[in-house]
């Protein structure tokens, strides 16, 4: 996803002289293409994320559209207050790019596991939090950020994330994108790279006679939206799948929609729980440890008594 992002940024920067890329000394073999092509609009500020957020604020104040790039925890949490008092307070179109969201840096250990970023950034009024599901959607999101004036937190994966079947790069602000239409019994709604696991979970559910629908909610708005409510209204059960803690993330958003709109949809929330410290391993190992692998997601649905319509009848 990193490469898709920088490729797209280069493409957009050829026509948009406002685009500026800053890194806090990360992105080896990723950011160089941009630096070579646009040396005046690239800065490696050194290992100094807080300063990077401030510099981006100043650059945005004179008309640039800065993208600040680092590993998700360093981009989002290390300079949380600088993002708040800079782009958010002044409403400036700075895009904070958090690389390796969730467990993408699994073996690197807990300091590199970005599991609170979505909820933390979503708590900032006026911040647009987006976690695209695959490289193609990342590219669409990038273009979409340029069409608006709010600050954005763009949480992307790390390596060559696989395309999510049926997504085809589609993205809308405020709305889930349905990528697989099943029955009205259960919706598997994922954000970020978890969309791949949600699709695989739907395949498993199929073997149990359940044709689940699958949706991607890449944009996590601060409040529930009519588009989300309309989508949820069509299902008896929704399972939210997110590579992060449940506080403030996708399940919070969906739970808020259900509770405040009085929807009859039941919520099953799959996300990260427990303490930060613990055994580490690959992303797939970490997902398994957290019960976020496809088999566990499918099992959660079944454990809640979701049945195929025929069996229920």
């Amino acid at each position: 996803m990193r490469n898709a992002l920088v490729e797209q940024l280069c493409l957009l920067a050829r026509d948009d002289a406002r685009i500026f890329l800053l890194t806090a000394d990360l992105g080896w073999s990723v950011v160089e293409a941009f630096a070579r092509e646009f040396p005046d609009r690239f800065l490696n500020v050194g290992v100094a994320e807080q300063n990077m957020a401030g510099i981006a604020t100043g650059l945005a104040m004179v008309g640039y559209r800065p993208f600040i790039y680092s590993i998700a925890n360093f981009a989002a949490l290390r300079c949380y207050e600088q993002i708040r008092n800079g782009p958010v307070l002044h409403r400036l179109p700075v895009c904070v790019v958090g690389i390796g969201g969730g467990y993408a840096y699994g073996p690197a250990g807990p300091t590199h596991h970005a599991v609170e970023d979505l909820g933390a950034l979503r708590a900032m009024p006026g911040m647009r939090v987006v976690a695209p599901a695959d490289p193609a959607q990342t590219q669409t999101v990038l273009s979409a950020t340029l069409g608006q004036e709010d600050p954005v937190y763009l949480r992307v994966g790390k390596g060559s994330n696989v395309p999510v079947p049926g997504l085809q790069g589609r993205f809308e602000w405020n709305a889930p994108t349905i990528i697989r239409r099943g029955g009205d019994v259960v919706l598997l709604l994922a954000t970020g790279a978890m969309a791949v696991e949600a699709c695989a979970a739907a395949d498993i559910l199929l073997t149990h006679g359940i044709t689940a629908s699958v949706g991607v909610m890449a944009h996590l708005p601060p409040d529930h939206t009519p588009e989300l409510v309309e989508c949820l209204s069509g299902f008896s059960t929704v399972l939210t799948a997110e590579e992060g803690t449940l506080t403030g993330g996708l399940s919070s958003l969906v739970g808020q929609a259900i509770a405040r709109e009085g929807l009859g949809c039941r919520l099953i929330a799959a996300g990260v729980s427990g303490r930060l410290a613990g055994p580490v391993g690959s992303r797939s190992y970490m997902l398994g440890r957290q019960g976020l692998d496809p088999a566990s997601l499918a099992a959660m649905v079944l454990a809640h008594g979701v049945q195929s319509p025929a069996r229920a009848a």
Partner: protein, 273 residues
């Protein structure tokens, strides 16, 4: 402007007198503190707003930018903006009242204030971004940032210091209001920053030390010398300058004045004038 002409100097000194009186009047009316810090920066603000800042308070892209990194001295800035014709008396009179935009720390919605500040250590980074962006846009604008000495406790200040020197932001001037006092005590006791100028020099800045209550010295010092380095001015100041009983008293970082103390302060100013 290397050496201000006598008329400019008179204007700066006259403005300093008005700022000092205005700080006392508004602090008393609002019954809020941070008086000592606002008084220590009076001559620095008067030098900038009394003639040094170009196109201040306008929407001109090439205006000089001023970042009040030590946002808690905003009252001195509000009074200067009032005397620069950017704010009427009634608006100034809303300082810290319900519904005002003139809080203890400045908001960016006011003409003349480009950067909202209040959380120490963050302003110089924004000033660096402004300076870098303006230079890329080939603007002749200069950037001035006013920090407190204790603000240099913050690590981010030194991140910005490294950046400005590395990128030779020679149109950036940072001023340290070196009043030697911070919230809980003298800076030398809390976290000693001496020798301040030498530290900045070691980071690659063109550092100079001046009397922070002398507008002539300030005006001369604030202009970068075009030697490819950002400029750093350590302005030696006195907390609560101009009000005898406040001077160098840490308590006046926070305290508001009683009616009696207010009268005493005004009388003291008149005696000096």
């Amino acid at each position: 402007m290397l050496r201000p002409d006598p008329a400019t100097l008179r204007r700066m000194n006259d403005l300093a007198g008005k700022i000092r009186r205005g700080v006392l009047e508004q602090s008393r009316a609002a019954n809020v503190g941070h008086i000592g810090s606002s008084l220590s920066v009076v001559e620095i603000i008067a030098t900038l707003w009394g003639g040094l800042l170009r196109h201040a308070g306008t929407e001109q892209p090439n205006r000089d930018r001023f970042v009040l990194c030590k946002g808690h001295a905003a009252l001195a800035l509000y009074v200067a903006m009032h005397h620069a014709g950017l704010m009427d008396e009634a608006t100034l009179g809303t300082y810290c009242a319900d519904g005002t935009h003139l809080g203890v720390h400045p908001e960016a919605c006011l003409a003349g204030i480009d950067v909202a500040t209040g959380s120490l250590g963050q302003g110089l980074s924004v000033a660096c971004g402004l300076a870098h962006g303006l230079r890329l846009r080939q603007s002749p604008a200069r950037v001035f940032a006013l920090l407190s000495d204790a603000e240099c406790n913050e690590g981010q200040v030194w991140e910005a210091a490294q950046f400005a020197a590395h990128h030779r932001l020679s149109h950036l001037t940072a001023i340290i209001d070196a009043n030697g006092s911070q919230a809980l005590g003298p800076t030398r006791d809390v976290l000693n920053l001496a020798p301040m100028a030498a530290r900045w020099e070691a980071f690659g800045w063109d550092a100079v030390e001046v009397d922070g209550h002398d507008t002539a010295q300030l005006a001369e010092a604030l202009i970068p010398r075009g030697i490819g380095k950002p400029r750093l001015v350590v302005a030696r100041t006195v907390l609560g300058k101009g009000v005898g009983y406040m001077e160098n008293q840490v308590a006046w970082h926070y305290l508001p004045m009683s009616a009696q103390q207010y009268e005493q302060a005004l009388n003291g100013l008149e005696a000096v004038a």
